[in-house]
């Protein structure tokens, strides 16, 4: 299903063919294709310093989207959706900014408050979905508007300039690796372990595969559902704070439309919008892929008006692959009423 699925030995019942393998690894195929096209179109990129610079730059730029996309992966795995991540990034950063600017908060306390705000934001989404039984799409569409509204009211639509120490925080690097990449890496490792090695992680997958069967198997569906929106809220706040530390100021359009990039990265990485399929590592590749395309377009001075269309085309392709995969899965799930003898 996705980039780094556990390898399985060929079996008597293996029904895979070449097209299916391609389909199941569409992200890697796309990644390689984009990379090759990139290299062919601008060979300069493979010379000396530029390459490392480019790679680090792409990874750094990808880390903001990547962190939200990892949170989004949790949500998508349960066949839900979180449209509010952009607003969550904005609101939690606004609160952190106001505290740093006017209450003299230092970076770390502000970060903690921002993460708290983001987590509560996610918890509110979870409450509406689990307790009030409102569909995730409507809940998060609502909080998308409300979140930005509260943020705008708090700042009276004015820009917030962060103090110097925020930018210093953003410039931290360990062994030459910039802070955003380290944060992205950490988030990836932790969520990877949660999703693959803990009971609740596996229950996320079970829920996404079949809610009814999951309930019959005694899985607390509400608890698992709540968890994924809280994780998504936490990740959004973290990504927002790290992004602010790079640019140092916050205006009312900060992180607008980020939900689109996050969903795209996850889906590009093989996570299915239909739930139950996907993983964090795929999402990382998806986020890198989106950023690589962006970088390539800029590097080659592609017309600014064309750029969004190219990105949209790639995302469209990813979603198209997803629906192909899904119809493939549906066929596999079809109930047989007579034995198939070969």
């Amino acid at each position: 299903m996705s980039v780094l699925r556990q390898s399985t030995k060929p079996t008597t019942t293996g029904r895979t063919n070449f097209a299916q393998v391609l389909l199941n690894n569409s992200t890697i195929v796309l990644f390689v294709a984009v990379f090759v096209i990139f290299g062919l179109s601008s060979p300069r990129i493979f010379e000396g310093n530029t390459l490392i610079e480019s790679v680090l730059n792409i990874a750094k730029q990808a880390s903001f989207t990547g962190i939200i996309a990892v949170g989004m992966t949790f949500v998508l795995l349960t066949a839900g959706i979180d449209l509010s991540v952009g607003s969550n990034m904005y609101l939690s950063s606004v609160v952190a900014g106001l505290l740093m600017r006017y209450q003299g908060f230092d970076v770390i306390p502000a970060l903690i408050v921002a993460l708290l705000v983001g987590t509560l934001f996610g918890a509110f989404n979870a409450f509406c979905i689990v307790k009030l039984r409102i569909v995730p799409f409507m809940v998060t569409l609502g909080t998308l508007v409300v979140g930005r509204g509260i943020g705008t009211a708090l700042t009276e639509s004015k820009q917030i300039d962060f103090p110097r120490q925020m930018l210093d925080f953003g410039l931290i690097s360990i062994l030459g690796i910039p802070m955003p990449i380290i944060a992205f890496g950490l988030v990836t490792v932790v969520t990877f372990v949660i999703l693959t090695r803990t009971p609740i992680g596996r229950q996320v997958y079970a829920l996404g595969n079949d809610v009814e069967v999951a309930k019959k198997a005694g899985i607390d569906a509400d608890r698992v559902t709540a968890l994924v929106y809280i994780v998504s809220g936490f990740c959004a706040a973290l990504a927002g704070f790290i992004l602010i530390a790079q640019i140092g100021r916050l205006d009312r359009s900060f992180a607008e439309g980020k939900e689109f990039d996050a969903i795209a990265a996850a889906v590009l990485g093989g996570t299915s919008l239909f739930g139950g399929v996907g993983n964090v590592l795929g999402t990382v590749v998806g986020a890198l892929l989106i950023q690589m395309v962006q970088y390539m377009l800029q590097f080659n001075n592609v017309n600014l008006y064309i750029q969004p269309m190219v990105r949209a085309a790639i995302i469209f392709m990813a979603v198209f692959f997803d629906s192909l995969r899904e119809s493939n899965l549906t066929r596999l799930k079809r109930r047989f009423i007579r034995p198939i003898e070969n």
Partner: protein
Amino acid sequence: MTPVLRTHKLSKAFYGIAAVKEVDFTVGAGEVVGLIGQNGAGKSTLMNLIGGVVQPDSGKMAYQGQPYAPRSPADATRSRIAFIHQELNLFTNLSIAENIFIEGFPTIGRGPFRLIDRAAVRRHTREVLETVGLDLSPDMPVDRLSPGERQLVEIAKALYLDASLIIFDEPTTSLTTRETEKLFEIMRRLRDQGKALVYISHILTDVLAISDQIAVMRDGQLVTQAPTSTFDVNRMISLMVGRSIESLYPKRTTAPSATPLLELRGISAKGIVENIHLEVHQGEVVGLFGLMGSGRTELARMLFGLDAFERGEIVINGQVLHRTSPRSSIRHRIAFVTENRREEGLLMNINIADNIALVALPTFASPLTQIIHQADLLAAAHHLAGQLQLKSGNIAAQAAKALSGGNQQKVVILKWLLSQPSVFIMDEPTRGIDVGAKYEIYSIIDQLAASGSGILFISSELEELMGMCDRIVVMSRGEVVASFPRAQFDAESILRAAFREMNGQNSQNSHPHPTHTPVGHFSAALKGEHES
């Protein structure tokens, strides 16, 4: 021997209709009880009562000597009662091991940092897989397994939970002969270990082979429960067959003509249906009978274009179709009265008139502006509703869900009538509606036939097919196995045919009537394939 499970005068009714009536059912340790009965005899309800899916109206149960009253399926699981369902409850995106352990993984570490103990999970999985004779990696994703292997994984899961009562509900329908033998081997071993097993199946020879006792249900009642040695296939069938009630059906007013409206020629889809030939003539009501899982509904869906088929063709009014879609079927004037009113037949929250108008909507739109002529539409809907004696309030205001089951079914039929179809596929049109309403639906079917339509009447109730049809075609395991003209209607013969292909060896002599359609030699040709 103390019984593991005993029910005492257990009863359950749905909407005033008794599904299970005062049933005393017993299963003991180290015993396989085969449970048989026609569709709707109450087997599933009885199992749902034991499984805590529904609660009894009266009567009680005792499990291992203690009073037992499960409020939910989780209660049943906690009591170590396991169900192996026909529809498998597996997560196809997880591995075999994860499916077995999803309810409680063994973990290592402390507090919130506990990780799944993957080594232990693998080890235990390998052990239980061995007991069911599956030589597969515990990490194998379930979506790669064959239906038979999935069934064995379900059994492995039940074994892991150390169930003392295991209920198998039609476990072999998707299994090959070899897989079935393997299943029986495992069942015998479990029985010898002292587990109590219930085996529900339509495959009577299998039931004879595996059971120590056989229980027969009919019309919600347990007709008999006795040692297997006292049964043979004939006795089982005659015990399952109910009495027929002639007066429940209107007299058919016309005879069918010889003009074919609909013809299926060799429709096949791998794993679903095989080489289906079928004809429906003008003014004819053709009954399509088969047991649960015989492929009736699947065939109807293919015929209407909802599902794809791989080989064969459909001929409607002389026109050959290789591919179908609901739109093309509607264009060719086929109507599909679906099995499930609530989910597939009606828009429950929409008013009756709009429901009726749904299919024929384009014909009421002005050709140029596409605006709908509301007045014409309402008039037509009113007219038809009157003809079918629909009992409702204002059809332009009342929502479909406010109607009784019988009247809802009329709305589904009305929806199609407006587009004047020539072929009706009716899938279980009388399910869940009361006797009076049934009679009205039967009358409508008769009127439709009299007006020259052809009707393919799919039902699990053999009696209503015998009451209404000109011909009954029997399906089993995705094949048409027999066809009976009205003059040769006989409940036992028809049931025998429905059970026939499933009961492999005695298929030749248990089919008393030669068929008058090409069906006969097709099934003969297929038989060879089956035995190999």
